[in-house]
């Protein structure tokens, strides 16, 4: 394809059609492999391996480094993180928000050459929602689908049980389209070993904890990769992973720790790419168990005690964006204007005194050992420093991710814990999932309870469209700002190091590498 003009508009469309033809030929056994090999191969160093290759078995956000490159939903996100049609060409929602008519993209194909049809959409819903699949994320989207009515190969209507303003935004990450014919032929187990999707990359091979090998899918409807084979190497150790770019072993290194950026930047031929992410760092306050923290004034004062700007500069090396609200401002509703809690230790202290805060009791602060989130331990140290400065005593415990998670996500919230270091990644701009889990009473990560807020959260998605919901979300976030259930800190930036000959614009706001637009000079 490199010889074809890659102009937007007509030229691009023509290029796509040409590509589809070639891939089809390859699929039929006509020698086309030589073509694929002509494209340069790409090596990407990643911090952690995925658990499952089956899109209905996604246990955590890390899986998307695979899913986002191999599978697709009807809608998804473009290079700027904006909602865009993917396997669908268009959608027409009904006025009541209970039905969505999708027109599938002509020319969309699975990696085995089968076309993506409305039948696949129906099957994908059935499989994802079936109780025997035990899809751990069914509750987010697919469980609310009442039916998928197949009209013809390229048209289907999805009807919902309840209105859900988050439906479109969630289609990308929570409803992947799987090939019915292939899956039924090989069965679930074989599919999980050799998955076939429709994304820009096809799965080739995998060795647990070692590598995942993908191949650029020349038959893709539009996002045809400019690279051939992609070797995703799993290099958990931060330093070793960063060294991969210095030694030239990797073309792209993901999740470069902020502290390693400066030494890498000094080297020739290495570029550092940074984009904002939805990975949010904050400190939940246990307002339920500790009467000392029950008053909103106290929680607001704690927010004022932290010099976020100083911590971003020193602890995060500037690779984070301080936030006024506990989310990235690109999250729907997070663009509401609020008066930020500026850094004001004196006022914070005064507020605590007038709220009757008991300074003699130390706050038990649970931190997370390093390994998962960059600078997690240093962040806790920094926050402790600022709290101590206004006279709030702290008692810090730092646990490994598993032990930390058992407490943070525990069914019963430990009354001994007053503050926690927490990170939360939204998979897309829809805030409903995060709020229900992290703020609503009884949510798996919620250390806060307020009936008034709960009532708001419960009707958060009960709107016909995102536009209709927007003012309500802003109101909700303004309320949360006032209530201050957490100490708001910052969102992390995704940092990539890329080697010689690579040009790439990483998709912002996702915490995984979307690789189809990587260009590598031969």
């Amino acid at each position: 394809m490199r010889h074809l003009p890659n102009r937007p508009g007509i030229g691009r469309r023509a290029a796509m059609r040409g590509t589809a033809g070639i891939a089809l030929a390859a699929g039929l056994g006509v020698p086309g492999a030589a073509r694929a090999q002509a494209k340069p191969s790409l090596t990407v160093a990643l911090g952690s391996d995925v658990v499952s290759l089956d899109p209905d078995r996604i246990p955590g956000g890390n899986e998307y480094l695979f899913m986002a490159n191999v599978f697709e939903g009807l809608y998804g996100h473009d290079e700027n993180g904006k909602l865009t049609p993917i396997l669908a060409e268009a959608v027409t929602p009904s006025a009541d928000g209970l039905a969505y008519d999708f027109t599938l993209r002509a020319g969309a194909k699975f990696h085995n050459g089968d076309p993506v049809t409305a039948e696949d959409v129906r099957f994908s819903w059935q499989r994802a929602a079936a109780p025997e699949t035990h899809n751990p994320r069914a509750a987010i989207l697919v469980a609310n689908i009442a039916d998928v009515i197949v009209q013809d190969d390229r048209h289907c209507r999805v009807t919902l049980k309840r209105r859900d303003a988050s439906f479109m935004e969630n289609l990308g990450e929570f409803f992947y389209i799987k090939p019915k014919k292939y899956l039924q032929a090989v069965g679930d187990e074989a599919f999980a070993k050799q998955p076939v999707g429709s994304g820009p990359f096809a799965f080739v091979d995998r060795r647990v904890k070692s590598f995942i090998k993908l191949r650029g899918f020349d038959g893709h409807w539009g996002r045809v990769p400019k690279v051939g084979e992609v070797m995703m190497k799993i290099v958990p150790d931060d330093q070793s992973r960063a060294a991969q770019i210095q030694t030239g072993e990797a073309d792209i290194v993901c999740n470069v720790p902020p502290a390693l950026v400066m030494p890498l930047q000094r080297l020739p031929n290495i570029k550092i790419l940074r984009v904002s992410s939805f990975n949010n760092i904050f400190v939940p306050i246990n307002a339920v168990a500790n009467p000392n923290l029950a008053k909103p004034e106290v929680r607001r004062a704690l927010n004022m005690a932290i010099d976020k700007a100083a911590l971003v500069k020193t602890v995060m090396f500037g690779f984070a964006t301080a936030q006024d609200l506990p989310c990235n401002s690109a999250i729907l509703g997070c663009d509401v204007k609020v008066e930020p809690y500026g850094y004001n230790p004196q006022k914070a202290h005064e507020m605590l005194v007038s709220a009757g805060f008991d300074f003699s009791k130390p706050l038990h602060f649970l931190g997370q050992a390093p390994g998962r989130v960059p600078q997690s331990r240093e962040t806790v140290e920094g926050i402790t420093y600022f709290l101590n400065k206004i006279g709030v005593k702290t008692e810090v415990t730092i646990l490994d991710y598993g032990a930390w998670m058992a407490i943070y996500g525990g069914k019963v919230k430990d009354p001994q814990i007053d503050l926690l270091y927490a990170n939360f990644t939204d998979y897309n701009a829809d805030p409903s999932g995060r709020l229900l889990r992290a703020i609503r009473s009884g949510g798996s990560y919620s250390w806060y309870s307020n009936p008034e807020v709960d009532a708001m959260l419960d009707r958060m998605n009960d709107f016909a469209s995102p536009a209709e919901r927007a003012p309500f979300l802003r109101q909700l976030f303004a309320k949360l700002h006032e209530e201050a259930p957490v100490i708001t800190l910052w969102t992390l930036d995704s940092i990539y190091a890329v080697g010689k000959g690579i040009s790439w614009a990483p998709t912002p706001n996702v915490s995984w590498p979307v690789l189809w637009n990587v260009v590598k000079a031969a």
Partner: protein, 275 residues
């Protein structure tokens, strides 16, 4: 090996470290966790940008490295010392019991010792930390659990060899109670080997602690140890070498000195090298 002289220098360093561990804060110019955002990553004195105020430089939060190292000495030595002391006591007691009583008790204890020795110690340490959580107390406990078995095995074999010696047999014939024999006759004869093993173990414990900290599962702030300082500084290796070099040197120096003292003791008392 050649006959050993007393390693004066090594002993002096060991004593110095123990003194630093005991006095701790008194010697340090600053509080170890006193952050100063105006003086972040100041290089050591003598380098461009370094000041006398921070002889060894400051870290990512502007804390004084010298003060942190001294505070680290305390925890590193405390964990190592406590671990060796308690593990030694438990191991010695069990070894005495096993060796002296023999029979089923011996078999039971020794199979347990074998099982503990067959587990790679760092795996056991990791699992225990994951189970118990971090913190100084738990790290000490982990080191005790991973270390006691060696003492038990050593003491048992010592007991077995001493038991057959004439003076013990005589005491037995004379009707001295087994416990008294063990305490009065057997233990003193085994004490040099125990001492040697213990001194050598201090070095091992320091390395184990730093390895755990390196994996992110050792000592955690606000506590401080050399291993933790090193592990935290490792992230900044490319921009501030002093964050890793000082604690690294401290570890190497301490381990070399304790090992040297231990080795010399071993050569002196146990030239066969049975340890």
């Amino acid at each position: 090996m050649p006959p050993a002289r007393l390693p004066i220098l090594a002993i002096a360093v060991c004593v110095l470290l123990i003194v630093a561990a005991l006095l701790g804060g008194v010697l340090a110019p600053y509080a170890a966790d006193e952050a100063d955002f105006g003086a972040v990553m100041v290089p050591p004195y003598g380098l461009e940008g370094g000041t006398v105020a921070h002889l060894l430089g400051t870290d990512q939060l502007g804390r004084d490295m010298l003060s942190r190292l001294i505070a680290g000495t305390r925890i590193s030595m405390l964990t190592a010392g406590a671990a060796v002391l308690v593990a030694g006591t438990i191991g010695v007691l069990l070894g005495l019991i096993a060796g002296y009583l023999g029979g089923l008790v011996d078999a039971a204890i020794m199979r347990l010792v074998d099982a503990f020795l067959a587990l790679p110690f760092i795996l056991m340490a990791l699992a225990l930390v994951a189970a118990l959580g971090t913190g100084v107390g738990n790290i000490i406990l982990v080191m005790i659990l991973t270390n006691w078995a060696r003492y038990a095995r050593l003491v048992r074999s010592e007991v077995l060899s001493i038991k057959r010696r004439d003076f013990v047999l005589l005491a037995r014939v004379a009707g001295v109670r087994p416990l008294t024999i063990a305490m009065r006759h057997v233990l003193p004869n085994a004490q040099t080997s125990i001492l040697v093993l213990a001194v050598l173990d201090v070095g091992r414990a320091i390395i184990l602690e730093s390895s755990l900290s390196f994996l992110g599962l050792g000592i955690q702030p606000p506590d401080m140890s050399w291993g933790l300082i090193l592990a935290q500084g490792r992230t900044y290796m490319g921009i501030a070498w002093w964050l890793t070099v000082w604690p690294g040197l401290a570890i190497v120096l301490a381990v070399v000195c304790f090992n040297t003292v231990g080795e010399r003791l071993r050569v002196k008392f146990d030239p066969r090298g049975a340890l």
